[in-house]
């Protein structure tokens, strides 16, 4: 009987010990976190802007080893929400802030950090090289449903699009579907990211999709629009018809590390990174 009580006592002491040390540990980590707070920078949002932000963060951290920069995706809407609520320092967006968002977070300030073309991509084996903007619109409106109608093989076209609210989709709808006046076909497959659209098109000979220029590689084939192939030059000189600006949003005018990071992206070196990952520099 006596022994049993002793065992209980020991257990409780052990438990209490573990409990106290955990609390101490948490407090300790809190301190470290607090100290580091001024030296961390977090970004989230558009999957289009993500490659620029990630690469820039990598280079920036090499130059400033005391600063830790984290980059997340999530989509333009998420980026604006998170920066508006103060969860992150910079919200990436591949579209301009919407009125609704402006009402919610009136103090957000946007900085254009790059331009981007939206490439229309098909499977590499697809013989179609060129589409007019009208043909593209007809495909996405469901008026053209077979590749043979536009000089391809006799295959039903599988239209791939992004979910409603995506920055890339908004730009596409605005520029190709006459700001949404032309209805998109409800047969279009919806994908959650640029990467998912690319993967779908790369795996299906009948598919057509649209992705940020930075995402184009040899798994998919970009199509000429009105005889213009999307590239840095054609977007910059304005001949390629489907392009847009990319933004970084901050709460108020950027300051401190945030300002330093955005200035870095706007600098010559930063803009070289923009170009390197496949986007178009602003200067």
């Amino acid at each position: 009987m006596k022994k049993k009580i002793d065992a209980d006592k020991i257990n409780i002491h052990v438990l209490a010990g573990i409990g106290i040390s955990m609390i101490l540990l948490m407090g300790f980590m809190g301190c470290i976190g607090g100290e580091k707070e001024s030296k961390t920078l977090s970004l989230a949002g558009s999957t289009t802007v993500e490659p620029i932000a990630s690469k820039a963060a990598e280079v920036y951290m090499e130059k400033h080893p005391d600063v830790k920069v984290t980059v997340q995706g999530g989509g333009s809407g998420t980026g604006i929400k998170m920066v508006g609520e103060g969860t992150v320092d910079i919200g990436n967006a591949s579209r301009k802030i919407k009125d609704k968002e402006k009402d919610l977070y009136p103090d957000l300030v946007g900085t254009i950090i790059a331009y981007d073309g939206i490439a229309i991509v098909v499977h590499p084996s697809n013989p179609v090289e060129n589409l007019t903007k009208q043909q593209l619109q007809d495909i996405y409106a469901g008026k053209i449903t077979n590749w043979k109608e536009i000089g391809g093989e006799d295959r039903e076209i599988v239209v791939v699009t992004r979910a409603e609210g995506s920055g890339t989709r908004d730009t596409f709808i605005e520029l190709v579907m006459n700001k949404g006046k032309v209805e998109e076909t409800s047969r279009a497959l919806q994908k959650p990211s640029n990467g998912a659209v690319k993967a779908t098109v790369a795996g299906n000979e009948s598919a057509i999709g649209y992705i940020g220029l930075g995402y184009v590689d040899d798994t998919v084939k970009p199509v000429k629009i009105n005889n213009i192939l999307p590239s840095s030059e054609t977007v910059k000189n304005g001949t390629y018809p489907i392009s847009r600006a990319l933004y970084m949003y901050t709460k108020g005018e950027p300051s401190g590390v945030t300002k330093d990071f955005i200035d870095f992206i706007l600098s010559d070196e930063g803009q070289n990174i923009v170009e390197e990952v496949g986007f178009i520099r602003i200067d």
């Binding site: 209980d8 409780i12 999530g74 989509g75 333009s76 809407g77 998420t78 604006i80 929400k81 508006g84 919407k98 609704k100 968002e101 919610l104 295959r155 039903e156 076209i157 599988v158 979910a163 409603e164 609210g165 995506s166 920055g167 949404g180 409800s186 047969r187 279009a188 497959l189 919806q190 994908k191 959650p192 795996g203 299906n204 009948s206 598919a207």
Partner: protein, 282 residues
């Protein structure tokens, strides 16, 4: 206060925190989603078009999408799972059981995104090539992937209920001259039927709530599927696809929460039904 009491208190607080979290989730879900459900009323559930940019919110295509993949999954998984459970509990020799059981448990432990990837690379492609469809992303692909995912639930709960059938029933049947198969079919399965039904309903809840695997293989098309070879979109997929991109607090945002409410209510009803049936079993 003695230590015994102290520990009891701590455990009680831990248990209550689970209830508290559920309560918070329900409150949050309904706070965000209820206004639009009230405003749109039945047209939210029976509306055939989903066009958030025009403030048209009809979730019918997604409800039908979710239900059709779920029923297809049950159609595939219930017979398979039931026969597997019968085999395991009644027929399997020791070595087969010790081989099969860990494999089935492993099946339950695979993360859903891995099922999704497997479905996208193998099943979707196989359907596309073998049937000659423009895309293999379809209700059929979703049904097959979900069937694999709910199989372990059906097998383990059915097996439990088969094992719970009193030994005397089986012995009595065999003593009357029935064969083993006759005993299984006419005595054991009927006695275990409520447990089997509970497993079906529980797996239905699991299938309807599944997100990651489904979003990868279903194609996500805002249209009511006309056959199992058409793509469709599930309730869960709409939330996953559109949540990240929509402005917070807007009607679109609220509509996504309203879809969350639909899902919550459906899964809640299914779970309750499953609990009631299992209670009756005992």
């Amino acid at each position: 206060m003695n230590r015994e009491k102290l520990v009891e208190r701590i455990l009680l607080i831990c248990a209550l925190s689970a209830i508290f979290v559920i309560f918070l989730i329900i409150m949050f879900l309904f706070k965000e989603g209820l206004p639009i459900l009230k405003k749109e009323g039945l047209s939210f559930i029976f509306g055939r078009f989903w066009e958030p940019s025009k403030n048209i919110f009809g979730a019918l295509p997604f409800i039908i999408g979710s239900l059709s993949v779920t029923f297809l999954a049950l159609l595939i998984a219930v017979p398979l799972g039931l026969f597997c459970a019968i085999f395991l509990s009644e027929i399997a020799p020791g070595w087969a059981e010790s081989l099969l059981r860990p494999v089935i448990e492993l099946l339950a432990g695979i993360p859903s995104i891995v099922y999704g990837m497997f479905g996208l690379i193998i099943i979707v492609r196989a359907i596309k090539v073998s049937i000659g469809l423009p895309t293999g992303e379809s209700v059929l692909a979703g049904g097959i992937v979900l069937a694999l995912m709910i199989l372990p639930i059906i097998i383990s709960i059915s097996e439990d209920s088969i094992n719970a059938v009193p030994r005397a029933y089986k012995e009595g049947s065999l003593a009357l001259g029935a064969t083993h198969w006759q005993t299984i079919r006419n005595v054991i399965i009927p006695s275990a039927s409520s447990g089997i039904l509970a497993s079906v309903i529980l797996s239905m809840g699991r299938a309807i709530g599944e997100t990651m695997a489904v979003v990868l293989v279903l194609g996500n098309v805002e249209m009511i599927p006309r056959s199992i070879f058409n793509p469709a979109e599930a309730l869960t997929s709409v939330i996953l696809l559109e949540m990240g991109e929509t402005p917070v607090g807007g009607t679109h945002y609220q509509a996504l929460f309203a879809i969350g409410i639909l899902l919550f209510v459906i899964v809640m009803l299914l779970n309750t039904a499953s609990i009631l049936i299992r209670r009756r079993m005992r």
